[in-house]
Structure formats: C-alpha cells, structure tokens
C-alpha cells in the first residue's frame, strides 16, 4: 500500500502518518520525491485501516498496490533514483542523465596487479574500480579470492587513484568487511535470492549493486531489490549480466531488453556487465556500445593488463587500450541519447 502526500505536506505531517502506520503494527517507508513524498507500507497490509490514514492532514490518497513489488516501483517514486557514490576524487552519480563506467580485474590478486590495472582504469577516465576479494567459484578447488587482505588493497587503490570501489560480499561476515572498506557492496548473481544476505544488505549504510540471477525473471529481480529496500536501504543499483539459455556461443545470453523494461516499472538505475554476459573479450566492446544505446545507466567491465595470467576469467577481460576505445565510443553513443559519461 502507498500513501501519497500533498505536494506541500510538511515534514511533520509525513512523520505523523509514519507514526500512525507504525502504531498499527506495520513498517512505514517515506520516499521523498521532487514534487511530493510517498509513504510505502509494508507488512501484511490486508488489514490496514485505510480510512484512518486517508483522513490525516497532508494525505492525498491511499493506493492499494497490486504489483508484487512496492518500494522499487515507479508508483512509489516517479522520477529516476540517482545514487551517489562518494569517490575520493568527487561524487560519481549512477542514474538520471549520467552514464557511469566501472572497470577493473575479476579478482584482486596482488597489490602490484591491482595498482597496475587501477592506473590504467583511471587513465581511461573511468572513476569506479571493481575487483573481487571474495570470489564465488563453481569449484571448491579454485582460487576463492584474497579475503580481507584483498579489501585492504582495494582501500589503497581508492586512496592512490581517487577511485570509488565496488566489490562483492558473499555472506554476512564478508559483507561486514566490504561495508567498511568499499563504496558499493556487490551482491552477485548466485546470491540474488540469498534472502538472508539481501536483508543484511538492506541494513547496510552503503549502496548495493544487485546482479540479476542466472535464470531470474524480471519480477524476481525486482523482488530481490525490494528485499533490500524493505529493510531501509534505498540505494540499490541493478545490473544485467546475461541469463542462461540454450544459446552456446556466449557464456550467457545478454538480455538487453530488460533495460527499457526496468525503466518502465522501477525508478532504480541499472547497469550492464558485458564481460560476464559474453565470457569473450572481443564481444565486450560491441555489447558495451549496445548497452549504452539501449539506455543502460552504466557499465561494469573487466579489464586486466595481462589477461593471460589472470587467476580467473582472463578470457573475458579486455586490455587497457581496449578500455580507452570503449570509453570513447560509449561517450559518443551517450551523446546521441543526450547523456554524459561520468
């Protein structure tokens, strides 16, 4: 259920409505917009007494929401959400009129590797750095990431190059640490429906990058985001990274139509990861162009200065030179859509 407040409703009126909702045993989610505030109500809303809420000062109407998702919906917030990433070199915005680039290695391997790649990333004008300290791997015998030492390397990258840091958490313990060291907490594909982890991310103070599950429908994807918002963290960035199909010339099938589909239903920004989607270096550049052309709010790209020596996923990492070309072509396509790369 959604309570729509008047455009000129006071903060006090909003607070009063929230208090009444909580007093009724539900959870209130005030969602400020540019012209009005909406208040989402979660909990089993079947028995909410609409009358007593609709008659409160400042309330325009109560809307029963039949869609399974509420807080992520455009009904709850009409304009695009813009998430601010406070990189040391200045805020990076995700959503709205900007297209954000984020690049880096699949996994953090050594300080030297991380610094060498970060230098190239910064030189290409990219302002967000990605790299895994915790790696969910199909095999228990594969390299699983450096853990906290990897996070410390990322913190050094942050300081030295002024880059905002995006890195994955795989359970509650690693999320505690990622929240401490990084700017954006990534929830990976395999954990998209790890509801326990989603709830923990919903109580985090940092933005969350949520990747689509390998066979998640659009509704399931938005519902997973809803888990995070329902706990109070509204800074959620979605990410399409390909789905599993019969098609066998790429590792996954990049489902770019989800970008306009998400834009119609939700106010949340959505990035595209062309590296995991394709698993092939030479397809990253064309699909990056396509992702920006379809309207994505940014890209998450794997880059490595020596991909053949990478401990994981080298085959899909592009080279620093290719990253510069990518940034340039993507900038030109963003212009056609009246957007700018930040």
């Amino acid at each position: 259920m959604l309570i729509v407040m008047q455009a000129n409703a006071t903060e006090e009126q909003v607070r009063a409505v929230c208090a009444r909702i909580e007093a009724l045993g539900f959870k209130a989610h005030p969602i400020p917009g540019s012209t009005r505030t909406a208040i989402g109500i979660t909990g089993n809303t079947g028995s909410v007494d609409i009358g007593s809420l609709e008659s409160m000062p400042g309330v325009v109407e109560c809307i029963p929401v039949s869609k399974p998702y509420k807080l992520v919906s455009r009904d709850a917030k009409e304009e695009d959400s813009v998430i601010t990433i406070p990189a040391p070199s200045g805020d990076v915005l995700i959503g709205g009129e900007t297209v954000a680039l984020c690049a880096g290695p699949c996994a953090i391997e050594t300080p030297e590797q991380a610094m060498a790649i970060a230098e190239q990333v910064a030189r290409a004008g990219v302002r967000l750095f990605r790299g895994g300290a915790y790696k969910p791997r199909t095999s228990p015998y594969s390299f699983q990431g450096l853990g906290e030492p990897g996070l410390k390397i990322l913190a050094q990258v942050r300081e030295r190059f002024g880059l905002g840091i995006v890195t994955e958490a795989v359970d509650n313990e690693s999320l505690d640490l990622v929240e401490q060291y990084a700017d954006v907490i990534q929830i990976g594909t395999r954990n998209m429906q790890n509801f326990s982890l989603l709830k923990r991310a919903g109580r985090a103070s940092k933005p969350v990058l949520l990747k689509r599950g390998m066979s998640a429908t659009l509704d399931e994807f938005l519902m997973a985001a809803e888990y995070i918002l329902a706990e109070g963290n509204y800074k959620v960035i979605l990410c399409e990274r390909g789905v599993r199909t019969f098609s066998d010339f790429t590792r996954n099938t990049l489902d770019l139509a989800i970008i306009p589909a998400v834009k119609r239903r939700s106010h949340l920004p959505i990035l595209v990861d062309p590296s995991h989607a394709t698993g092939r270096r030479h397809k990253v550049l064309p699909l990056s162009r396509a992702a920006v052309a379809v309207g994505a709010d940014g890209l998450l790209v794997e880059v490595h200065h020596e991909p053949d020596k990478a401990l994981s996923d080298g085959m899909q990492s592009i080279l620093p030179d290719e990253l510069r070309q990518l940034a340039e072509e993507v900038r030109q396509i963003a212009e056609v859509l009246h957007r700018r790369v930040n």
Copy 2:
C-alpha cells in the same frame, strides 16, 4: 574442402579447376574475393584426390575445412559480402559500410493500408518495404495473409514509391510467386530448418533473407544458410529476431551477441528484427539503437499507421512518427561506427 587460387590466377585457370572438380563428381563453388578467388567443393569430399587439384596451374593450396559450414565461412571469403537489392529508386546495399533499414506492416491487408504505410516509410527515408502476403500463424483460424493478391499490392507499392520489397514465402508454391513479385525472399523463423524450402530458395534468382529459428544455435543458423549457398544462391542475408527463453517480459529474448559472433565466422550480412523479438512497441526504438550499436547491418521494423486496427501483431508495430525518430537516432549511432544508413 576449399581450393585457394593465386592472386593472379586467370579466369581460365579457375574454370579449369572447377571443371576438374565436377569431373570428379563433386560440385564446385567459385567464390571471387577482392584479392583472390577461392573454390568451395561440396558433396562427400572424403575421397577428393587433393594431389591432382593442388598441382593444377593457379592453385595455391587445398584446405580441408573441419567446420560444418563451408561456403558461408570467412575461410571461403574473407571480406564482407555486400548484397545488392535493386529497388526502382536505385540499388540498396546490405552489408559492408552501410546500415539498411526495412520497414512496413506485419501483414498486407488492403491496398489502402499498404499505400498509407508505404508513404510514411518512404517519407522516413527508408528504402526497403516489408509486409507479409503469406503469414505463418500459430492458429489455423487466424488471418493467413492475402496470398497472391497481397503480392500484387506489394508490386504496386514498389512502383509507386520506388521501394525494394521484402516478403515471406512459406512453401515452394508461394516461393515461386514471391520470386516473381518481390526483391528479397524471406524465409521465416518457423521454416529455418524446412530444408526442402531452403533448397528451393537456393535455386532462386533473388536474394534470400533467412531468419533465425526460435531455438537455433549459431551453428544451426549458419548451416541453414549453407543449404541455400550450396544450391548456388550466394545472396543470403541473415536476421536475428530473438530466441525462446524463460524470460517472460518480452515475447522473445533478443540475442544481440550473435552479431559479432556471426561477423567472426561468416562473410554474410546480418540484420536485426526488434519488433518480433520484443513484441512490444515501446521497446523497438531502444533495441533498434542497440542493434546498430552492436554492429548489425540493418533493421527490419514493423510499422503501422493504425496499429490498433492491424489484423496481426499490432502491439509490436511502431507509429510513423516513431519510425522517423528511429531513423534519425540510428543514423547518429551508425556514424559513431563510421557507417552510413542507406
């Protein structure tokens, strides 16, 4: 098997090699390139006597081709194939440096409908017109197209607006007629592995537009094209139109990564049909931009002046105004890739 001729081999030398191949009981396919000619050999090539061919004047080498497809392969022809469509208003090229647009209604319904839409298509600067006279429909009780009267309407569109005509054939009988009236013979998704129809198309004098099957792998798609080339018709245009997956917010999942994948393996041009892929009007424009950005050689788009009255697929047809916007945005994105729309 492929015979590679010397750069300066004479036409007579090529003819002599072909004659020897045919004398041995196989079929020879000379494939002229910009710097050299290659000759494909089809038939059960297990027993070809390589020695006698390799020692002939003008021959560089004989290459056993292990890939399942031969004539469609870049091994057989290194540079992009450019297919010429002789529209009355001048040739339209598909492949190479140009991006070709083709638009029109799903089905030809009446002369008035066809003319009204064709006028809008021509006004948007589009030079190829699509529209079905034979419609493969899931239900035997749905409108199945006008048949030959529909082809006659298309011929009038051709004359009046100077547009090249693309229309579907569904069996040998309709292919005979389509070949007579249209400029490009379309083989639809459901017939991609109708090998009998592919062979007939391979004996046609007109270019063939081959749509990817709903669950065709890349190899199956190229092998279907190979059926056409193996019969002697090298003017084949591929078309990605979405594949069937679990993903349920679009009718099909557009698999744009196939564009760079085809480009690596084959010299044939490939278009994208964003209308059938998505089944939703508002997704056609963003996915058209993405298709050109990823490197497609053109678009096949459904347009209708009164989509709500269309006898089939109105929900996915865009309006004439949207077509003009599409043409303009696609032109700008083509420029980023140093290509021009024709």
Copy 3:
C-alpha cells in the same frame, strides 16, 4: 464454437446441423463420441448466428470455445481417441488402454540393414517399425535419406514381418509418396510449424504422427495438431521428443510432464521418443520406463543391430537385446497402470 447434440440425436439431425453450418459459410466437423456427437465449427466464428443453430432438432447447446484449439480439445471429444494402425499382422491401437511400441533404425540405409533390424524388432514383440527414408539433417552435406527407394524397402519390411510402418515426410512431394507406402505419416520436430505441410497432412488418408517442436509450448503443439484436424484428418498421434534448454548432458530435455498436461486438455494419444530426447544409448531404457510410468500411450525407439556403423544417430540407438529388455520392463510398468502393451 461447438454444437453439442443430444445423446439420441439421429444421424440425419447431425447432417442437418452440419448443412446449416456450411450454408452459413463455415466448416462443420462432426465428432462422434461414445454417448453423444459434438460438431466443431471452424472459420471466423465471431458472426455465427447461435440462435438459429440452438433451435434445431437434436441440439443441446452451443458452446463458444475460448481456448485457441477446438477440435483437439476434450471439450470437443470427452473420451480418449484411439487410432487404429492397420498392420498386416492385425490392427495396432494407439491410445486408450494400450501402450504401443514402435522401433527401428534412424534411417533406412540398405535392404539388408532394414531387414536385419526389422527381424529383431518383430522378435521383441514390437509391431510397429520406424525408419527414415527422408531425413532432415542440419548439414546439407550429411546423408539425407534414400528417398523413394527407402520407402520401397519399408514396404518390403511391412510385407515380410507384418509390421506397421511409420516414416517421415518432409515436404508435399515426399508426403504424397509416404502416404502411398506407409501406415503412419510422421511430421518431424523441425516441421511442427510448417503449416503448409500440416495442411497437406490434414488432407491425407493415413494417421499422422506429429512431433513436438524443439521449443514449442503446449499450446503451439496442440495448435499444430489442430491444423491437421481442421482439414479433416482426425487421426493424429502426438509425440514428445525433448525440448531445447540450457541443460547440456542430454541432447534435449525430455519434458515428461507434458503427458498428463496433454491428457487433461486433449483426447489425442501421445507417444514419447526417448532416443532423440537424450541422444545417449544408456538413457533410453530408464526414460522409456519413465515415459510409460507417467502415462504415455507408447514409445518410439531407435534400434540398430550395428549402431557404430549407422549413417546417422548411431550413438542413441539401442541394441536388439536392449530392446527386448525394454519391452519386458515396459510391459510390467504398464500393468501397474492397468494397461497392456500391444
């Protein structure tokens, strides 16, 4: 639309209703059942004058059918359809209380091969023989079947061993010949939506075995059958043979849940082809047991006396000994379901 006749309606009354329907410009399909006759009406039934039909003698009611399929529906015919295959050694029934086995090689290669396998098939107590004279092959360079000489070999198998013959037609020309030589006309997976071929099969005098398309939904499958019935041939046997999914340890994913799903919606019998579904010899026996256990009306199994020498699909053919074991185990499982193998 369906007209339900009274239990004691006379043939003359049925004929009169049919005549009125045809006079109104529609097509009438009388469907005799054990207790009553229903009459399906096809054509654009939006404008049927129900009143004039409902008031005719012998008519109980007119039911507007909202489902896309009509004649294949249980609404049209409540009890199971039983299709009779007139093998020289006596009728073989498909549907109802019997489980029918059909076995043979993928392709007819030589008279010797066909006879050797047929002998083993007959010895295992199987009464239907399958084998392809026309083979739809992914590659134009693969063995495409013997054509009419293959059909002549099948006719000899029929005479010598008393087996009913099931073989595939791939276009109108081959269907003319198959209809002449065989007992059951098979329409293959790749042609499930070759509507031109379905219509031709609907005018054939022999039963049609329709295989599910590689990515056909249940509705599309039943609608393809509807094309055949709508032309007047009600002797249709469905066949599940696996669908295309991401799952990569079998060639296709056998979707056995379609058996009870078809049984709820349609009166048509349905077989299972475990050989094409799995593409692996050692999975044919367990999946044959499962198919009969789930309620299938029979099996279509590939068997070869020398699978390693087969020109196609040897890897999925079982040996004669395995066929005998299969027949025995399937017989026991059929008994649990109170059915018998014929």
Copy 4:
C-alpha cells in the same frame, strides 16, 4: 588426485598415507569402499609429489583426476553411497536398493497442522517428514516460516510419530538450529551456489539434502555437492526439482534424465521432488511414478490435509488419500526395478 589402496591394505597403511598427504600441506579424504579404500587429495594438487606417495606400503596407484569433481565421483568410490537417516522408529536408508519416501507440508504453520499431516504421512507408510521452518520466498512480504518455533514443532512430530525430519536451512544461523533439531539439513534451490552455506553444511554432523539450482548444469550441481564433501561431510543426498525453461504449463521442467546421468558419474543418491517441479497437484502422482521408474532413490512430496488453506504452495500439495495411492503405485514400480520402498 586419488590414491587407490590395495584390497588388503591395513587401516594403519591408510592412516600413514593420509598423514603423509597432510604433511605435504594437502587435505586427505579416505573413502572406504566394499573392496578397497581410495584416498582423495584436495587442495592445489598441481605440486603433489606422486612418487613419494606411490611407493608407500599398501598403495596401488595415484590417479590424476581431470574431472572438476573428485570426491563425489565414481572414480573415488565405485559403489553407491547409502545414507542412513536415524529416525526414531528405525534407520531409513537412502540409496542402494531402497526407495525412500519423504512427505509433508511446504511450511510448518501450526502444531495442529503439522500433527494432522504427520499422522497421515505415517499412516501412508512414509517414514520421513518434510516441512519448512525457514522459507525462502520471492517476496519479502510473504510468510517466511516460523523459525525456531517451527523446528520445535518438527521435533515433536519426530517424537510422536517416529518420523525422520528433513528441513531447510537458509543461512549459517538457521543451519546451526536445523542441525540441532532435524535429521537431514536441506539446502534449497536458491542456495545451491551459496558457497558459504555449503561450506558450513560440509562441517555439519547431519546428512545434507542438496537441491539442484533452477538453472544448474549437471557439473555445477555435482561441484556444489563437492563443496560439502570437501569439508568432510560425505553424507550428501542430491535432489532434482525441475529447471527453468520456456515451457509454461508447469512451474519448472522436471529433468528426469539427470537421474541416470548422476548414476554414471557419482556414487551419491538422488531424490526427485515432483511437487516443486510441476507446481500442480494432478501432475505429482504421474511424475512420482516416472521418477521411480527412471531410477531415483526416492521422492520428496508435498502433502497437506487442507491445501486450500496452506500459507504457501497449496496448489501443488497432494491430499493424504493421494499420498497413499502414490505410495502404493510407487511400491509396485520399484519392484519392477528390484527395489523396495522403505
């Protein structure tokens, strides 16, 4: 890497080899078989000094294992693993010659509901009871299970009816509790690649039931099991529950061919869950028969005495009467395979 010991190797020799492996910095996994013991080595085995191990007393040979999974492989253990569930009424065996049935509600709702259903389950001769206290739900607003109070109800069911208890853990915290109250710890579909949870399950003292992920390949499924075995818990039971495909008449597509596929590659037992696979009550019975016929080691079935009042998944729960019919039919089919239901 695998060390194969002589048939008559002493326990002391096995211990000595294990000690040497651990001294080299790897982990040793002795796997006793009926005729010989094998010792799996995990860790980065690239640098294992084979020579020093092969020359030890009692060692037959060292086999480098190229398959991604080791401990779950038939190479490591030739005969079927049989997992013992110590129900109060006596051990229930899973694997080998027995077929195990496990039934119960989707979620534990109240003591009354649990007892009423458990009584019916026991009456049907079923000896394992399933029911969720922690429910992973797509929506944060859906009933998420009773938590520990639900586990306490399950413990009462255990005592009162002598049934073994199977219930799901969704994170480390709930796993600690499930381990305490239940006999089998279930890891659900959405957590199949929650590697952090798999590792925790690998350190548990109770058997683990691992459900296949919604789009997991066979290798990914076995590798997920390998995570559990690699931590030392060899009591793993696999469970097929349907995969996500385009096919839309069931909730998921039950992939029964995985049963013989697992049997060829692994010694682990595998059950089938026909309730979640189909999501439809009337398909549970036929697919249960098919699952046993294909060779599954048992079934996991949802049953509810009042499915229309169930808080979750009522539509797919069968009634107690249907459970008795299921048990009887499954018993007869098991006999055909020379197995017995326990």
